[in-house]
Amino acid sequence: MIQLHRNPSSARDVLIKVVGLGGAGGNVLDRLTLDGMPDAELVAINTDVQALAGSVVAEKVQLGRTTTRGLGAGGDPEVGYTAAEEGMEEIRKALEGAQMVFLCVGLGGGTGSGAARIVASLAREQNALIVAFATLPFAFEGKRRKAQAEEALAALQRYADVVIYFENDRMGDAVAPLAGIQEAFAVADQTLSQSIRAIAGLVRQRGLVHIGFDELSTALRGAGESGAHCVFGYGVADGDNRAHEALARALKSPLMDKGRMLEDARNVLVNVAGGPGMTLNEVQILMEELNRHISDQTRLLFGAAVDPALGGKMSVTILSAVEGAVPAAIEVRPRPAARVETSPASVPPSAPPRLPEPAPALHVVEREREPEPAFIPAPEPVPEFRPVEAELIAAAVPEPAPLITEPEPEPEPAAPAVAKQAARAKAVQAKQEQMQFEPATRGRFEKSEPTIVDGQDLDVPTFLRRNVKVK
């Protein structure tokens, strides 16, 4: 295959930096290191020295040497913010040269919620493409934390190119009801790590039909609207029936709701990758099956890539934003320039380099970024996909705000944002299904192949599944 690189010398060095911010972000980085994330630099940023010391990541930035003196931010975003302000130089240095920044952060606490917007804005200074992966706290962590998280998320959405967020509550679907809390948190980390690797793979993979960042943001367009949420699924399989299996696994993601979530999606991004042995037939099978889950109006953004590292396996990545009840016409708004404005309260005067003249900055940014995904990166992309994990994948209700909303200053985004978030949370909650406790009563079908339709084991008596009282 002949590839024409616009800028061949830089094709290989799309420098991705994965930043883990705060305690949760650090955990994700650890997870990522375990799973393997080559060709990316990992940077841990935290106020808590102990947590930093415990991290396996090589590059570490301590925030708030004087503000918190090595302690955590104590769950207070204000403290996190001040600490980050203090450490701006160090953060800037850590981010230097990055072309893509993946910012993983757990919102709700002090450091994550407070410092996220600063890190994002500094990354933007580097003209880096920013994809934020945020987790929102469990409901049991309290309303205060939730409100903090939502506020921080709204702020983050203004700086990052794409925000994919994962509601920890929805991880419940992926975790057995009796699993330990540690496991529940681990699943959240794992999901995040998987999605980071999948998206990194997507953007850097050498594609036959390439999916770039533009497709990514199209797929996620509208995710910022109220009631909207993001759907993410990833599956890998090998063997004779790998196309079918991989798709089935991707759809198995609890967020996918067996593919039902896709029905309402307007844009669905699908990337199919496989070893050199992948046949057109298989791709066809897969796409045909997928087509059953989406409506005729849905725009399918299709990508295909051959990746020798996958060997005999085939992987599918599905990403989409499902709108809420009101499919308000969503137009692509221009990205705000490097960020025109920030909530005034939060922008300290000490952040001068951030906003030069908006208009030119916009141009620079646009030009710089568009082509980025087109760079064809390192030859051995995504070796880190492992079939084992494919089972779990997906999860996560990412909820990206692809393009930042208002280009013009918006003084107090917090309040409406909270309301928006609340509405969204409500919509999400309404969709949540009750966990099925498997009654071990399949009677004569005990040993036969189960009949599973829409996630229900039909061999279990209907009256049991529907809780009809029988004496």
Partner: protein, 403 residues
């Protein structure tokens, strides 16, 4: 075109194996000579799970059929089902070679082959490709394109496929009994041949064969098959539910279902009970009738709802002028047609094999619909057997009769 010929249809069902011996007449009618059956073991959800036991049951059923019809059985048409079997629609197209402008019969073969050039899951094999419509140079509604002028022949097919190894297993099981399998037929396709007449096929109809292990369905619109498949839920599930819900043995549950069961709720007097007498090994039990009906109702309604959901994927339900035909053992459940009407919003008829003569007791029983249908299917396919130049042309004609 046909001669009198003896044909045997064999259905290896979940609850019973049955072999129907029929005689196809030259005029297209069928006479049932005998029906042999044996309770089935080693079959779950329409698929063989215990090879040896299933083989024994087949032998039993065949011996029974031979005795009753006084015919030596050497070959059968075999019905298959299972949730792995699925259908979809696809269009094939061929360009007529430059050197002629007339469509020949070999073009038909080509267009059929081209329609099959579609991806199905790797372990699957084609079971049927059923012709729906021809298009010649884009012209719609061509009934028989052979001899017509045109540059391009297209045809829509309904393609039914299933996991090759599972289908082969059924075939092998029959072969080991010493029989020749003439053809393998997807059950609802066979059932539809005797449940529907040509007129109903053109009007549009849904045939649901609810058997012991599976619920098979097929949709005809404009005389052609548009949708087909199988759900692995059947009478066995109802029996199992009753057995688990009322805590009685399977055999008792089965009898209770057949003799007392109904899917209609609120029809029994409050507290009305059914008394199961005590026997050796069974303590006896009093069962509230409403309870029994609730269990059955829940299961049947759910099955119908699942089926409706599947059918809704393709949106043919509103075009079914002839309504829905319900057949198979479960169609004997009391009130099932009312429940089906409620769920599907279609007129529902509980139906059995039509347009056959002979043993009334056989064809009036919806349990035998599929096996009898196999004979009708065979009759329609028969002209494929004569050899010679005419073969190709004759072979095409029955396609219209059938599909």
């Amino acid at each position: 075109m046909g001669r009198d010929q003896i044909v045997v249809g064999l259905e290896i069902g979940t609850s019973k194996v049955c072999a129907v011996v029929g005689e196809t007449r030259g005029d297209g009618t069928i006479r049932i000579l005998g029906v042999g059956q044996a309770p089935s073991r080693g079959v779950r959800k329409g698929e063989i799970v215990d090879f040896e036991t299933a083989g024994k049951c087949i032998r039993e059923a065949l011996v029974d059929a031979e005795e009753k019809s006084d015919v030596m059985i050497g070959s059968v048409y075999l019905g298959v089902t299972g949730s792995h079997i699925a259908g979809f629609n696809n269009r094939g197209a061929v360009n007529i070679p430059e050197d002629r402008d007339e469509i020949f019969d070999e073009d038909f073969e080509d267009v059929q082959a081209s329609a099959r050039e579609v991806s199905i899951p790797a372990p699957n094999a084609f079971v049927h490709s059923l012709l729906q419509h021809y298009y010649v140079d884009g012209q719609d509604g061509v009934l028989n394109p052979i001899g017509m002028c045109g540059r391009k022949l297209e045809a829509d097919f309904h393609i039914i496929h299933g996991v090759a190894s599972r289908i082969k297993n059924s075939q092998r099981c029959v072969k080991e009994v010493g029989l020749v399998v003439l053809d393998v037929v997807f059950n609802p396709l066979a059932a539809a041949q005797v449940v529907l007449d040509q007129n109903q096929k053109s009007l549009g109809a849904l045939v649901v064969d609810m058997g012991g292990g599976t619920m098979d369905y097929i949709v005809y619109v404009d005389g052609a098959v548009k949708q087909s498949g199988a759900l692995a839920i059947g009478g066995d599930h109802i029996t199992n539910d009753i057995s688990l819900g009322l805590r009685i043995p399977m055999a008792k549950a089965e009898r209770l279902k057949v003799e007392e069961g109904s899917v209609i709720l609120g029809n029994s007097r409050p507290g009305e009970a059914i008394v199961l007498k005590d026997e050796t090994g069974f303590a006896g039990k009093t069962i509230e009738r409403e309870m029994l009906n609730t269990i059955i109702h829940c299961r049947v309604r759910e099955s119908f709802e699942l089926l409706k959901k599947r059918l809704d994927e393709e949106n043919y339900l509103q075009f079914l002028g002839a309504g829905m035909m319900l057949t198979g053992g479960c169609s004997l459940l009391k009130g099932i047609n009312h429940l089906a009407e409620e769920v599907f919003g279609l007129p529902v008829h509980v139906s059995h094999a039509q347009t056959v003569s002979g043993l009334t007791s056989a064809f009036e029983n919806p349990q035998f619909t599929t096996a009898i249908g196999l004979i009708k299917y065979a009759e329609a396919m028969q002209p494929a057997q004569p050899i010679g130049l005419l073969q190709g042309i004759i072979r095409k004609l029955p396609f219209f009769g059938l599909w």
